[in-house]
């Protein structure tokens, strides 16, 4: 019983390491480099949205330099 569990754990570890071995090589990142893969969709729109968020929620700072909170810079 104890033996079977040990084999199961080692088998699981090997199976997981097989996932780790399927690396995406640097030259295979065409799809990842596409604009559709951006987390924020459109850079300009994301900037606009952040501007609103920072000024209306007084949530300025944290990710970049601090700002006044007036939404004007």
């Amino acid at each position: 019983m104890k033996h079977a569990r040990r084999i199961a754990v080692i088998g699981l570890a090997l199976a997981l390491s097989a996932c780790a071995a399927t690396l995406v090589q640097p030259w295979q990142k065409r799809a990842l480099a596409m604009p559709a893969m951006r987390l924020d969709g459109n850079r300009l729109h994301a900037h606009y949205q952040y501007q609103l968020y920072a000024s209306r929620e007084a949530a300025s700072g944290g990710d970049t330099v601090g700002r006044g909170g007036c939404g004007c810079n």
Partner: protein, 168 residues
């Protein structure tokens, strides 16, 4: 005891996952033979005895697009002294590479490797990557990525290779 065995297993897994061997400075450059746009092939062995700059690029890679015109100027600057620039295109979609090349005309040698075998044998770690290969076929310098500002060291390596100095 048991914990030690697990640690060993973990190390083995980590090694296995990252075991793609990269070509280092001082090693012989792996051979490749790839087609040009006109269908003729170019083998690295044909260029033995010359200083060769092998660059890996793709049209979807922003820094690569910036580096190619830079390589073109390097070629024109050092052509008389015997520098040959070979840019290996790794686009999976050939048409995308051709669209870029028609927009940005280049004088350097462009060869195409859609499968990426040449990148595999070089153990490419970044896009773009440049390898400077000396007259003896050994890698003299390697540049990962591209920033116009830090290409001074690389140009120095090119000049040394052309002058026939031994690498430091």
């Amino acid at each position: 005891m048991r914990r030690g065995a697990f640690r060993l297993l973990f190390c083995a897994m980590a090694w296995w996952a990252t075991s793609a061997l990269a070509v280092e400075v001082g090693e012989l450059a792996p051979a490749f033979e790839l087609p040009r746009a006109d269908g003729s092939t170019l083998a690295l062995s044909e260029l033995r005895g010359q200083v060769v700059l092998v660059d890996f690029w793709a049209s979807w890679c922003g820094p690569c697009r910036k580096s190619l015109p830079h390589l073109d100027t390097l070629q024109s600057r050092y052509a008389e002294q015997g520098l040959r620039v070979v840019a290996i295109n790794l686009d999976e979609v050939r048409a995308e590479a051709e669209r870029f090349l028609s927009a940005v005309p280049l004088d350097i040698e462009i060869v195409f490797d859609a499968i990426g075998d040449s990148a595999t044998v070089f153990g490419l770690k970044a896009m773009p990557s440049s390898y400077l290969i000396g007259r003896d076929g050994r890698v003299r310098a390697r540049r990962l990525g591209f920033r116009a500002a830090d290409s001074v060291d690389f140009e120095q390596a090119i000049e040394q290779a052309l002058a026939g100095d031994h690498p430091p």
